[in-house]
């Protein structure tokens, strides 16, 4: 490396703060700066502009707040506690708790969660506090029910382990059913694309060299002032997926920029407003701060594949994503954001205002963020049963031309409920159940091919039991033929097989 990360060759933090104090710092939002660079060139723009402001306002699940309730009379070492029926983490000292954004109400479920509790607190609304304890000599109280407001709390500190992703993948869905994901509603057959992040305004995109954002960077957080306290969890700078851990005084925040949310059939979360000032301390920072939507790339990923390695369909930049139409597999489909670009813009504007009014000063990070960490997966080391471990290998099958009475007899004699129907080569062509046969006999049908189900839901040898169970409940069926890659029947897995297996696991 021919340079020192974070070097202040263009201007220093002190010089910028002096100009902020005098009220003559030149500040532009990232959108304004990107177009100014296009017009005036990078050299001239970098020389003139001191600070570029950024903003993002999106669902950030790894968010939450530390709360200190103060002591009751007699005092209590709270062992479990709930705020508006949402459980808060109590593995801390007597009256300290952490309310996480994705914790859900035990009475209202998906409708209300930790994110909503945080929004209610910041809005000054009363929140019900309920707590349980086992009682000790020093903390005799065992139960508590009261209500609190943010004013009553000694401390309320927003501390978010992972916020402000540098960028995020865009989502689409290849399957034939609508999916409800944390990336919103995804229509079947690549019916739409959703994306997150504000592109040109995205804080970490504007410092992709990690030269100015570090431990101690003062930021806009939830409408108040916050600080970066380190890299966020899953920080993956090499892949362009940097993240931040941030904190700030919840008591000084604004509910406009902290909003509880419920994502349909997914869960609850918190929309967090984050804005970071980018001081143009050297030309490299100026260059990344000038990146436009068309310079910021991500991938459209197929959320129809329920795996941690979801396949990427294509690369795409934020200009195309923001256009509202995206080409997927030669078809133009509607595309919309999940994070609010209007609010991101408002945050960048607010931060700009704070700087030009001289009420917000920049800090030089105490330590820069790591640029070499990796994001590792979690390997399941205990072997989990697969279809091959649970299925029956001896399968009673029949031919499409078989007589129904003969097959009914077979069903009774062999004590089975499902009979896969195969052709001469053993390839699956249908399935009948005892119910189908009863119906066929009642209606006077003779041949299997007249009553069998032709669109058969199947399983593969190495499929997880979870995936089989979810197919059973989705299609309301109780047995799946197991087929090889040429669709020849090699086994059968039924709900009975699975429940027997589960039962064995819990036996002493």
């Amino acid at each position: 490396m021919g340079f020192v990360r974070g070097e202040e060759s263009l201007r220093t933090y002190e010089e910028i703060n002096e100009k902020v104090r005098r009220g003559d710092a030149v500040v532009m939002t990232a959108e304004e700066f990107a177009s100014y660079v296009e017009q005036a060139g990078l050299e001239k723009a970098a020389k003139e502009v001191d600070v570029v402001t950024t903003g993002t306002f999106g669902a950030m699940c790894s968010s939450g707040a530390f709360l200190n309730f103060g002591h009751t009379e007699p005092p209590m070492k709270m062992y479990r506690c709930w705020l508006n029926d949402v459980p808060a983490y109590k593995g801390l000292a007597a009256v300290d708790a952490y309310i996480g954004a994705t914790a859900m109400s035990e009475t209202r479920g998906f409708e209300y969660g930790g994110g909503h509790v945080i929004e209610d607190l910041v809005s000054g609304r009363e929140v019900e506090l309920r707590a349980e304890a086992y009682g000790t000599d020093c903390y005799p109280r065992k139960y508590l029910e009261t209500h609190i407001t943010i004013e009553d709390l000694n401390q309320a500190v927003l501390l978010n382990p992972r916020n402000a992703y540098q960028r995020y993948v865009a989502a689409t869905n290849s399957t034939d059913r609508t999916l409800y994901t944390y990336m919103g509603t995804l229509l079947p057959h690549y019916g739409n694309v959703t994306f997150s992040g504000s592109g040109v305004l995205n804080p970490l995109c504007k410092d992709s060299g990690f030269e100015i954002i570090g431990v101690g960077t003062r930021i806009f957080l939830g409408g108040g002032v916050g600080y970066v306290i380190g890299e966020g969890t899953q920080h993956n700078p090499r892949k362009g997926f940097g993240t931040l851990m941030v904190k700030g005084d919840l008591k000084r925040m604004n509910p406009r920029y902290l909003r509880g949310a419920s994502i349909y059939r997914y869960g609850t979360t918190l929309y967090v407003g984050v804005g970071i000032p980018i001081p143009l301390i050297n030309m490299r920072v100026a260059k990344t701060a000038a990146l436009r939507d068309e310079d910021i790339w991500t991938e459209i990923v197929d959320y129809g594949v329920p795996s941690r390695n979801r396949p990427a369909i294509r690369k795409v930049n934020y200009k195309e994503l923001k256009s509202g139409r995206v080409v997927v597999n030669d078809e133009t489909v509607p595309c919309s954001p999940l994070s609010s670009i209007r609010m991101a813009r408002e945050i960048a504007e607010t931060l700009k205002k704070w700087l030009t009014e001289g009420i917000f000063f920049l800090t030089r990070p105490v330590e820069l963020l790591p640029t070499d960490t990796v994001f590792k997966p979690l390997e399941v080391k205990r072997r989990e049963p697969r279809v091959r471990d649970v299925m029956k290998v001896e399968v009673v099958t029949a031919k499409p031309t078989d007589d129904i009475r003969a097959v009914a007899k077979l069903l009774v004699n062999r004590g089975v409920d499902h009979i896969p129907i195969v052709d001469d080569k053993g390839v699956l062509v249908g399935i009948v159940t005892s119910w189908d046969l009863a119906k066929a006999l009642a209606l006077g049908k003779d041949r299997l091919m007249d009553v069998m189900t032709r669109r058969v839901v199947t399983a593969g040898l190495d499929d997880s039991i979870d995936s089989v169970v979810s197919k059973m409940s989705r299609y309301n069926i109780s047995g799946l033929p197991v087929v090889d890659d040429r669709r020849r029947v090699i086994g059968l897995i039924t709900a009975d097989d699975i429940s027997r297996r589960l039962y064995r696991r819990f036996l002493p």
Partner: protein
């Protein structure tokens, strides 16, 4: 003008071609947005464009034949204080009644809305309701 009608067929009226008669008689073209039907009753939501007297005539015709007709006004209600203009409802609208404005605010086109409710479910802020 453009209007949307909810047409409810009570028990015993389902099998009669009342709507077809109404279209043939009045000459008004209708677009069926939604239809639910069972053996006892049925409900249609239709949109159409015509002059006010013609609409009155159509409504009168239908009512004379025993079906209930009401005009649907403003199916969608958006709580602008809750809405953050995120866009989660935009690309999933089946009739493109929701779009992003130049200023990145979400715009709802009441005329196009068919009241399917997809945006109600998709809204993370629970800002959209159907009336």
């Amino acid at each position: 003008m453009k209007v949307k009608l909810r047409i409810v067929y009570p028990t015993g009226y389902v099998e009669r071609p009342i709507l077809a008669e109404a279209i043939l008689t009045t000459g008004i073209k209708m677009n069926i947005l939604e239809a639910t039907l069972d053996a006892r009753s049925g409900e249609l939501i239709a949109s159409l464009e015509a002059e006010e007297p013609e609409i009155e005539r159509l409504v009168g015709f239908l009512r004379d034949r025993g079906v209930k007709v009401e005009r649907i006004v403003g199916m969608l209600k958006v709580d602008k204080d809750r809405c953050i203009d995120c866009g989660a409802c935009v690309s999933i609208c089946p009739v493109q009644a929701i779009e992003m404005g130049e200023d990145w605010s979400v715009r709802f086109d009441e005329d196009r809305c068919v009241g399917c409710g997809a945006c109600v479910r998709a809204c993370p802020m629970k800002a959209v309701t159907l009336v």
